[in-house]
């Protein structure tokens, strides 16, 4: 092989490899889409409820009643009209405020339960609801470990109402309304990995300020919302008994057995039908 031929060959091979390489890098880039999440630092929250107000405004929900928070000591569940609430907990002599909304699980029970994929875990991380698919069976409400999806029982055209992490805003390159409008910077938006790093560094730098645990890092297989707190989480109304197994795992065994039953059962039944045959006369079917 002379030099010219060598260069030619290299050129051809290189040219053919180039698009392949760029394709591969695209593939890697696709894989590298990380779930976005939100970190809530309950030690920073001052309970101003600005997040509830801007959330209602941006999703065309009725204005929330801000006084309600002071009437209850403990969990305030979300409602169809209020996708994010602030709960007030009196622990010892201090008041702790906790933002509650959809946790945006990594492997959500609601989206797994949904027979029409109306509830969908998007690639970006938010769990969204699509009205053109939902048939209103409320199986998501049965399945959600945090009782988050809420249903409009008083509407003839009811919707499933829950936090969608301002998914439309994310698509336009903006950040969720609640994060953008938190005066105390108690909530931070970012990729889940970054947020876990940040939470850990906060715990390391101020070990006395925080409980050494990030709620949502492992719970139900990991959630998009992550929490830091100064007191144990069960004192702030967090469920501690949910385990670290992702909820879809609970129906997996059953669903895996379905193809086996569908393929093996008819063959077995047919064989049994033939095995019990007495004589030729009995072959005909019919009732």
């Amino acid at each position: 092989m002379d030099r010219r031929n060598f260069i030619k060959t290299i050129g051809v091979v290189g040219a053919s490899v180039l698009p392949a390489r760029s394709l591969r890098s695209e593939e890697i880039a696709n894989e590298a889409v990380e779930f976005k999440g939100i970190l809530v630092d309950t030690t920073r929250c001052a309970g101003c409820q600005n997040c509830s107000v801007v959330c209602a405004e941006s999703h065309e929900l009725p204005e929330p009643d801000l006084d309600e928070m002071f009437e209850i000591n403990g969990n305030r569940p979300t409602t169809p009209d209020q996708w994010t609430t602030i709960s007030r907990f009196e622990v010892g002599d201090e008041e702790i405020y906790v933002k509650k909304q959809c946790m945006h699980c990594n492997q959500p029970a609601c989206a797994t339960a949904c027979p029409t994929k109306a509830l969908l875990k998007t690639e970006e991380g938010p769990v969204i609801w699509r009205g053109d698919k939902c048939m209103g069976c409320r199986f998501c409400m049965i399945s959600c470990p945090y009782d988050i999806p809420k249903f409009e029982y008083d509407s003839p055209n009811p919707r499933i109402m829950k936090c969608v992490m301002c998914w439309e805003k994310l698509n336009e390159g903006e950040i969720p309304e609640c994060v953008a409008n938190c005066p105390e910077e108690a909530i931070v938006f970012g990729t889940r990995r970054e947020l876990i790093d940040q939470a850990k560094s906060r715990i390391y730098t101020e070990p006395d300020r925080y409980v050494h645990e990030i709620y949502g890092e492992h719970e139900v297989g990991g959630t998009g919302y992550l929490y830091l707190a100064g007191v144990p989480f069960d004192q702030l109304g967090f469920k501690n008994d949910l385990g670290n197994v992702a909820y879809p795992e609970y129906t997996k065994t059953f669903l895996y057995s379905v193809p086996f039953v569908i393929t093996l059962w008819p063959a077995f039944l047919l064989a049994l039908h033939n095995a019990t045959k007495k004589d030729e006369k009995d072959v005909e079917g019919g009732m």
Partner: protein, 438 residues
């Protein structure tokens, strides 16, 4: 082509005859004004109004459903219990067509019809409960397959199973209409439909239990276990057969005039056989219940109000019917068997409602009690089903004999054999009588 042109006038003629026949069949056969009919008319008219209100103003206008209790009795009783009660059809088709237990052949049609109507009406009651029922078509037409969802599986199975049961039942329709050729084709599809139906039933009877697998932590540990699907499947066997026993006894009285010779002859024998199978299935179910109970380490819950409620369900409505079925079978006591069937059915209602409604969200303060309107609408669904059932039984050969042209060789033989045996017995009796008087 040739045939088509030839048959055209025949077809037209046949069509005319067909519509005339259908119209005449829509006329009521019995007295129109009876206590039952008046009762049904009142309940159904109120129910229709309530259903209209429900669709115009939303679920909260007629139900007590809430954010904490998204499923009430429309799901817990109508759908989940109703489908278990309809399990008799797949068990009986298995016995008759797969195991060829010919003894049970005479009641196969009424059982399949009951099962089919139960699915149409009770699974159909799901539409009342759906918030956005106009999207019920979404998981079917494939623009959004939620294949990871147990609900998706159950929905598809309901639909396919209704088709399978209709095919199993269709020869009776063909006999009613006098369609000989079509009947033959339909009868040929029976075995396929039966095999499909049993497979689908295995999966969706257990699938109804699997719906609750992700409600871990919400359902009381005495009712939640990873084995719910298996428990639901096994209990659907005796639930279905107990319903067959109960319905059989009722229709034996109500439709006495229409009963075929074969059914009259074999009714008691069939009841005995079914009670034996029910006892067996109940025993297996009880055994599994104990196994699951030990497996889940639920001892600590036993000495609580929930524990007593659980014990009532298991002792009162599993062990007692099991014992009664055995006693009834041994002593040939039909009353005991019927009582056992009723108790077993109450046990199923309790179990399904406990899982889906009563022991659901047990740690929360709130609770769910159905409104009278939810009960009224449930009753409406049941009454409409009974009326449709009555209409069909009074017209098609369900309990009555098939027309002679429709009987296949072996069925004719069987009927003839029974008839001969009876005739012989009669003759012998007469002769005896003669002898004794002489």
């Amino acid at each position: 082509m040739e045939i088509a042109t030839k048959e055209k006038p025949i077809l037209a003629q046949e069509g005319k005859r067909f519509f005339k026949f259908i119209l005449s069949e829509f006329k009521p056969k019995g007295k129109l004004i009876t206590p039952f009919n008046i009762f049904a008319a009142i309940v159904i008219s109120v129910g229709v109004v309530l259903i209209a209100i429900r669709f115009l103003t939303g679920l909260s206008s007629v139900t007590n459903l809430s954010q904490e209790f998204p499923w009430g009795i429309w799901i817990g009783f109508d759908v989940i219990t109703g489908v278990a009660f309809a399990g008799g059809a797949y068990v009986l088709t298995f016995m008759v067509y797969i195991l060829r237990l010919e003894k049970y052949h005479p009641i196969i049609r009424i059982t399949v019809l009951n099962g089919f109507l139960a699915y149409v009406f009770y699974a159909g009651a799901l539409l009342l409960d759906l918030g956005r029922p106009w999207h019920v078509i979404n998981p079917v037409i494939g623009n959004s397959f939620g294949v990871s969802s147990v609900m998706f599986l159950v929905a598809w199975h309901f639909m396919l199973y209704m088709m399978a049961e209709f095919i199993e039942f269709s020869p009776a329709v063909a006999e009613w209409l006098g369609w000989k050729r079509i009947r033959k084709v339909l009868a040929g599809m029976t075995l396929g439909a039966v095999i499909l139906g049993i497979t689908l039933s295995t999966l969706h009877q257990s699938g109804l239990g699997a719906l609750f697998l992700m409600a871990k932590g919400k359902i009381h540990p005495l009712w939640y276990s990873e084995f719910i699907p298996i428990l639901f499947f096994v209990s659907s066997i005796f639930a279905g057969l107990s319903m067959v026993i109960l319905e059989g006894s009722i229709s034996h009285k109500l439709f006495h005039k229409r009963l075929s010779r074969e059914i009259r002859h074999s009714h008691n024998d069939i009841l005995m056989g079914l009670s034996k199978i029910c006892a067996g299935a109940l025993f297996v179910y009880f055994f599994l219940k104990v196994l699951v109970f030990i497996h889940e380490h639920s001892w600590t819950y036993l000495n609580t109000p929930w524990g007593y409620w659980f014990l009532l369900e298991v002792a009162g409505f599993v062990i007692i019917p099991l014992r009664l079925y055995m006693l009834g079978y041994r002593n040939k006591n039909f009353t005991l068997i019927k009582v056992a069937a009723v108790l077993a059915l109450i046990g199923i209602i309790l179990n399904r409602l406990n899982t889906s409604v009563i022991a659901y969200n047990w740690q929360n303060f709130g609770s769910y009690v159905p409104t009278w309107m939810e009960l009224e609408i449930t009753l409406t669904v049941i009454l409409v089903e009974i009326i449709v059932l009555r209409w069909i039984v009074n017209r098609m050969p369900i309990l009555s004999e098939s027309p002679a042209w429709a009987l296949s060789g072996n069925v004719r033989d069987r009927v003839q054999k029974i008839f001969l045996v009876k005739e012989k017995a009669n003759k012998e009796e007469k002769e005896q009588w003669k002898v004794s008087t002489m």
